[in-house]
Structures are given as C-alpha cells and as structure tokens.
Symmetry: none
Subunit: 205 residues, 2 copies
DNA sequence: ACATCAACTGTACTTTGGTTCAATAGGCGC
DNA sequence: GCGCCTATTGAACCAAAGTACAGTTGATGT
C-alpha cells in the first residue's frame, strides 16, 4: 500500500515519515499528479479552522484512493462530515507513528477508523466515561468563548508545552501565561492543563 | 488483563478458552463474586432474542471492569444499546479466537470495538466497498513495556485524574502513585503527565 | 470623557507534581 | 539461596503550576 500526505506545503511532519518512510508528500494543488491505478492512502491534513471543502475539492475520490483525515484539532463535526463524504478515517495530525500505522492497516483492509470520543457520541446514550463524571457542566465551545490570545495559549499548553515554553514562544512573561491559563480554566470550567488538553484534543467531551 | 466470560451457564465455548486459556467462566448470577480491583474484561453473552437488560442488571460497571458484548445474533440495535450503556465493544459469540484476542487488545487499551456495518450506518455515509478486516489487531507499544499496575496508573492519569484521585481509586498512597509515575516517565521517556496523556490518547509521540 | 475589555505584568502565596535519598516485602528464575 | 523485578511507602526536597490581589496600557464603543 502506498501512502501520500497532502498538506498546504509539501513539508511532512517527522512522525509521518517515521511511520511510512517511503511515503509521498505533496501540496494540495498537486493532487492531480498522482499516478492513477495503484492503490494509495491519501492523508489529508486539515489545519485549525479549515473545513474539508477548503482542503479537498468535492470531486469524488477514485476507487483506488482511500482518504484519511489528519486533523490539527479533531472536531466531531469535521470528522463526521469527512466520513460522510467517504473518508475512511480520521486521526490527530500529530499522532504517533505507531498510531498512523494502525490506522493505515485498518483502512487498507477496508475498515474505518474513528476516534473514541466521536464513536461514543455517534452511538448516543450515556457512556461509562460520561457517567463517571458526576455532574457535568454544559459543554462550552472553547474556541469561541476564548479570546484570540487565550486560544493560542490553550493550543500550546494542550500540545504539551510548559508555561515557560509557551512564554518564550509567544514572547511574553511566564506570569502572563499563568494569567491567561487562569482565565481559560475559569471560562471552560476546567481544573488544570491536563483537562484542557483532553478537551482541546477531542479526547473527552 | 484478566478475562471473564459470563453466560447463562458456566459452559464456555472452546473458542473462548482457546483465545484466553486462563479465562474465568461464570454464570450471570455469580457476577458479584468477582474479585474487585483488578482490571478485567467481562465478556457477556447475549443469546438470541435477549436484551442487555435481561443478561446484565443495569447496575453501573465498576471502573476496573470493561464490558464486551458477545451476541449470538448481532443486531445493530442491541449493539448500539450496549455501547450506549458503557460497553466497550461487541462481537459475535462464535467469533474466532484470533478475533476475540484482537477485540481484547483494543478494549484493553481503552478502545472501542464495533462492527463495520454498524459503524457505517452510524456514520451514515457513502458505501465504499468493504473488504474483510483480514489480520492484525491494533496494538500499542506503551502497554507492553509498562507493568500492569503502571498501566492502571497511566490510564487514570491520562484521563485527567490527579495523583490524589489515582491513589484513592487504587487504594494506595499518593506517594506510590508518584513512584509509579516516575517509573512510567522513565520507561517511556516522557517529561510529565501531560505528555503521558498525549501519548496514551494517541495524540503524540 | 468615560466605561469596558483584552493584554500584559508584578509580588506573594498555596498546592501539586516530580525527584532523590532511602527501605520492606513477595514472586520468579537460575 | 541469591539476584531481579514489582509493588509499596516514608521523609525531604525542589520545581512547576495555579491563585489572590493589584496595577498599567491601548483599543473600542457610548
């Protein structure tokens, strides 16, 4: 099975090549250049805020093409939309190589790969995960309630950065990072950065 | 991971024991006899025409219990219902041992196992030709290098629990939790619990 | 002009997380 | 028996995270 990563630029993440050393990487505009006929998995990256339409023309996929969505910020709507359009799966853009290989195996065999949180919700009803969380505050759409700066901080923290790292990256004081984080926790009703990460990465409701 | 098959009678199918030679088999009424605390996958058999209610009292599962439905006649409604109630998967009662092992692996790592037909219908998308999922279970590397206890700690922490909460849940000291965490970080080459969460949830490295 | 809000920073503080010294006890292989 | 590993815990410690209270600046709207 061949693999082809499609992104805005032709710059692959290290993890991609680690998972598939012989993978091809191309820009979205170059999609037509793909040699037709041989089976291939198209890994289409969707950056923050993008929709599938913007990244992939609504043209139907060829029969020999399998599509997997690589989402920077997994969002149920986007994932469901993609699957509805024939995609075979969706996972995090920064997923580990082993995860990518798992996805490829499932997809390559005609299977579907869907994140757990989405699956739970598709199935509907109360899951154990939800039941465990005794009282649940109404879910807030984090990206809209947060200010622009807060969103930046939230993304970095959710990706595993320390306060110091966030501060350096945004050229502000560590103290300011803390201030933003406190505001974020307050607005989203979260306890700490780990929960923030779970929320933003779509792991938890 | 322990396995326990629950049926009307305590008569296991050969395939079950072939998949898990050390599995426990019990009648539904004996469910309360399970030693609590140690993680276990409950394989609950649902015979033709039965509903989940009849086989399993609606009592909530304990945190250390994972439930997989074994359906004599897999029916989308029953499966959806089971998943909605917190089950981690569903497969055919007479599934091959290899399939059972695959399911166990996925479920044991916190995943969900759902049949393809149901998944497609839940998603409600296009009908891509589906081939049989030939071989290969999705497997993760972290769960093999960690000891059983460490896996328990890792899961809870990755889910957002504090050290105190993990300690209470596992009935050990907060100090011990820290010890386990240090070992986990060391083995996986991680920095802190956030990175552990990203790793376990398949988001990162 | 005034109110409001986002962004930013400081000092001081409490809490949590994580590490570094230990140490004890049980299981398992050689 | 003797290592080796796992699980467990203690005391002490440092670093990081998070909170409380207080303040400046600039943009924006009424």
């Amino acid at each position: 099975m061949n693999h082809c990563f499609v992104d805005r630029d032709a710059l692959p993440l290290p993890t991609w090549l680690e998972a598939f050393p012989r993978a091809r990487v191309m820009r979205r505009e170059q999609l037509g250049l793909l040699p037709s006929g041989e089976p291939v998995v198209l890994w289409v990256r969707l950056r923050s805020g993008e929709t599938l339409d913007s990244a992939m023309p609504p043209a139907a996929l060829a029969a020999w093409q399998l599509l997997v969505l690589l989402a920077d910020e997994p969002d149920d709507e986007v994932v469901a939309d993609a699957l509805g359009r024939g995609a075979s799966g969706c996972c995090n853009t920064h997923a580990a190589p082993e995860v990518l290989q798992q996805v490829a195996l499932v997809v390559g065999n005609g299977g579907l790969w869907v994140g757990q949180s989405l699956l739970r919700r598709l199935v509907g009803g109360t899951s154990r995960a939800l039941a465990a969380r005794s009282e649940r505050p109404p879910r807030v759409d984090w990206s809209t309630v947060l200010s622009e700066r807060e969103v930046q901080v939230a993304r970095l923290v959710a990706g595993g950065a320390s306060n110091r790292e966030v501060a350096d990256q945004l050229s502000i004081t560590e103290r300011t990072v803390k201030a933003h984080l406190s505001a974020i926790f307050e607005k989203l009703g979260l306890r700490d950065r780990l929960q923030l990460s779970l929320r933003i990465n779509g792991v938890q409701v």
